[in-house]
Symmetry: C2
């Protein structure tokens, strides 16, 4: 399979095996927890994307920056690949381990180092949970805006690695727009400070370059986030539609009216039913689609805008518009949406969650095409998405025990992502590329563009030890992919075979 290697891959194999690495690391890192027994390693064999599983050579859980530096220097000297992992909630396999690599678990970096309420900033370690930041900021009337559905569990370091979004990123931006500075260790142990507490970056914007780079350029060891003042008032509306395209049209009209909702989410009938069965959120189970629209800000502003939004929704064909009557109902409306994925998990043995983004104007066309794909492959697709920013999460329902269904699900998924690119969108909205969408990167980028990615990778990680085989495909992989039309998940991930 050597034809699949990129010529820039140096092909160095780790000089040590598990036992050798373990004994050396125990000496270099006294007191640090290192997992090596089969039963200890099993919980780490996948992240939130459970369709891929690999047992890592070792799992290391350091507590200090110096320990991480020591580990990286050891890996550098021995040629051992390093995969960093936060809370393991990622949905694209970005933290999938390597059989001959070390899994660096940052869970113990769980301290909030500083919180400056006047400046509206918090400096935290990467293992701090997303929601814990908002909880610590709450007494000051502040919060951290990006809120992935996994926010109760996911770590801020993982959010930086994947440039995570959430239901409120339409108004408040992605992770990149809500962080000011990060400290990173390079593979050879240099500590870099990227960004600043000021608005602009000097030189080249390395903070942006690292955000979303999926652990391929360095290890984030500290993050300064921006905190926002908690909105004085928030109101959520639930609009029912008898037609999915009408709901899509309403989205365009709300935004076209210059209103930027804090969240603007859409679910189709299959997703509505699944969520309602699970959460009893009060969703209309007969509706073809619902929109959840949240407005936040000053009280009068919210009151004024919610009248305008209601009028727009009705004019766009909503059969009913309900405003959450109190905070409890508001929370319930959101709970249904935030649990849509597990809810779908209850009605199907397996599901495959996609994450493509499209220009909003293409919403009706893409929904129609997804319905056609669903019909022609004979698999149900539930649509749940951040309608405001065009970030779709089609959930493809299948049964892995029925021969051929996994392959069909992957085929539909690949076609949906290619469709996203075709209409001017992208293959990932907020879940990252990871291992899952490595082939679709060949559709998204041409070889000139990929070569620059590789050159940047080589500048920071010349031995390609940091999370190899994720995010950026080799040119050879793309050549093979283009020639062979291999679907996601079916490839042997040849770059990884050397490990």
């Amino acid at each position: 399979m050597s034809i699949l290697y990129d010529e820039r891959v140096d092909g160095v194999l780790p000089a040590v095996d598990r036992a050798g690495a373990l004994s050396q690391l125990r000496e270099l890192l006294p007191g640090v927890r290192i997992l090596h027994e089969a039963e200890e390693l099993r919980p780490y064999e996948c992240d939130g994307l459970s369709m891929y599983r690999t047992t890592p050579m070792l799992v290391v859980l350091p507590d200090t920056v110096e320990q991480v530096r020591t580990l990286l220097k050891f890996a550098w000297d021995q040629g051992i690949p390093i995969v960093a992992r936060g809370a393991g909630t990622g949905l694209s396999g970005g933290a999938l381990p390597l059989e001959k690599g070390i899994l660096l678990v940052m869970a113990r970096f769980n301290r909030i180092l500083a919180l400056d309420a006047d400046a509206g900033t918090a400096t935290v370690q990467p293992g701090v949970r997303n929601l814990a930041i908002s909880q610590a900021a709450a007494p000051h009337g502040l919060y951290y805006a990006p809120d992935p559905s996994s926010q109760i569990a996911c770590s801020i370091g993982g959010n930086v690695a994947e440039n995570a979004g959430g239901v409120h990123c339409l108004k408040y931006g992605l992770t990149l727009h809500n962080i000011l500075q990060i400290k990173v260790l390079t593979i050879d142990g240099e500590l870099l400070t990227l960004g600043s507490e000021a608005l602009d970056c000097q030189g080249f914007d390395l903070l942006a370059l690292f955000t979303g780079s999926e652990g391929m350029l360095g290890i984030v060891v500290e993050i300064t986030v921006r905190l926002l003042a908690s909105p004085h008032s928030a109101k959520v509306m639930l609009a029912s539609f008898d037609d999915v395209e009408k709901a899509g049209g309403a989205v365009a009209q709300i935004l076209g009216a210059g209103i930027i909702p804090a969240g603007l989410e859409m679910m189709d009938n299959l997703a509505i039913r699944a969520a309602e069965d699970f959460i009893h959120a009060g969703y209309p189970v007969e509706a073809a689609a619902i929109l959840l629209c949240e407005l936040d800000g000053a009280q009068l502003d919210v009151a004024e805008d919610s009248q305008r939004v209601e009028a727009i929704l009705l004019a766009a064909g909503a059969t009913q518009v309900r405003v959450a009557k109190d905070e409890a109902e508001r929370q319930r409306f959101w709970l249904g949406r935030k649990n849509a994925f597990p809810a779908v998990g209850r009605i199907s043995p397996d599901y495959y969650c996609m994450d493509g983004t499209i220009p909003r104007r293409e919403l009706p066309r893409v929904l129609k095409r997804i319905a056609e794909l669903s019909a022609s492959f004979g698999l149900r697709v539930a649509n749940v998405f951040h309608a405001g920013d065009g970030n779709m999460h089609p959930l493809i329902l299948f049964d892995a025990n029925t021969p051929g269904e996994l392959e069909k699900a992957e085929a539909i998924g690949a076609k949906i992502l290619e469709l996203c690119v075709e209409v001017g969108g992208t293959i990932t909205g907020e879940h990252g590329v990871g291992r899952e969408k490595i082939n679709q990167m060949c559709t998204q980028f041409n070889s000139d563009e990929l070569e620059f990615f590789h050159a940047i990778k080589a500048a920071f990680d010349p031995k390609r030890l940091l999370n190899p085989g994720k995010n950026i495909p080799t040119l050879q992989r793309c050549a093979e992919f283009g020639a062979m039309h291999i679907h996601a998940g079916q490839l042997p991930f040849p770059e990884l075979e050397r490990f």
Copy 2:
């Protein structure tokens, strides 16, 4: 001086002189305007930072992407450096020509290619003026948010190159936050598409990497910007203070209350007097400082917030708060601020405009230190700044005809920038590094960090032909700077001598 060269500089000198390049380019680019006579070249010898001047070898004004590609290939083959220029309004010498280089003027790329009102996007050529985008969008109730004071003249391509800000960037972000996609030509003629119409970037964020890279990585030939709905209502307040520190305190309290004004600007007494003499904006000439605070959005929201802001201003010690009574007065309040630089130019033979950013909490301390520097060097300093985001523009007044005053001005400027870094800020807020602040980059970054900048530069421009000597200092320059404490402007810019 070879000790000052970076070892990665290949030291190739252009293979042709002016006459040779001219005759070859005339053949390669029939019909393209190429300037070569002394009097034609003179208008291009500096940009908005007139303290540095160099006559370029040739000025080329292409009309098409293909012509730019041909020019770049010629430069690549011949080893001729290329400096790109938009409207020439930049304030850090980013478009300063090279004596043995070609100045690529993008002024003729002045067409708006598409405007999609539903999607809220416009696709434009780089030579389009910033304000022209908002003018084209106005009939649709839309506008382009970043508004540098030079917006009537500056080009969107230059805005991308410098990641330009403006008085409204506190609420609406810098250029990077308001663009979706760019097309760039690399030095060897490849056309790359970076970013997308969707929210997230895949792979590494090359759109962010290019934004603010000052023409060192490639030539931007097309830009898709995000358009926002024009606010329904805007109100500006002018608050007077008898003490600069009280004004600084008011800024912190407004933002701490969770209000994000569209603009929050501060001027000290010297700037107030100069602006009032020039514009007759109605400023209180006895005040130690004024704050201009603009709120925009829905009518009720603006009304509610302006009451809160007024109360905060008075509680923070404002001696008077005036709300612009109509649109004409609102425009006049802003006109004084936007003309503060030329106004200061009327009261001093020369002035040197700085552009540092600091964490907002350091405002009082930094203002005090600037006053001390002003007293100890015996030069007046007028302070005009974007108080909301901590972006300061101290204007150092001097007379270049008085021996020693230029050097004193440069010394104060360098000390102010170093002070910015010391308190956790940066050496540039929105004007870029260019040639002006190349030495202060050595204060801002350590050699590990600079090495990564050079590696990225090498990936895109291995012959270092794109705008050499700007933005990113060589390590040797920093070593010399550190050892010799040379001030900005006094250095012979050794990297440039080969041209």
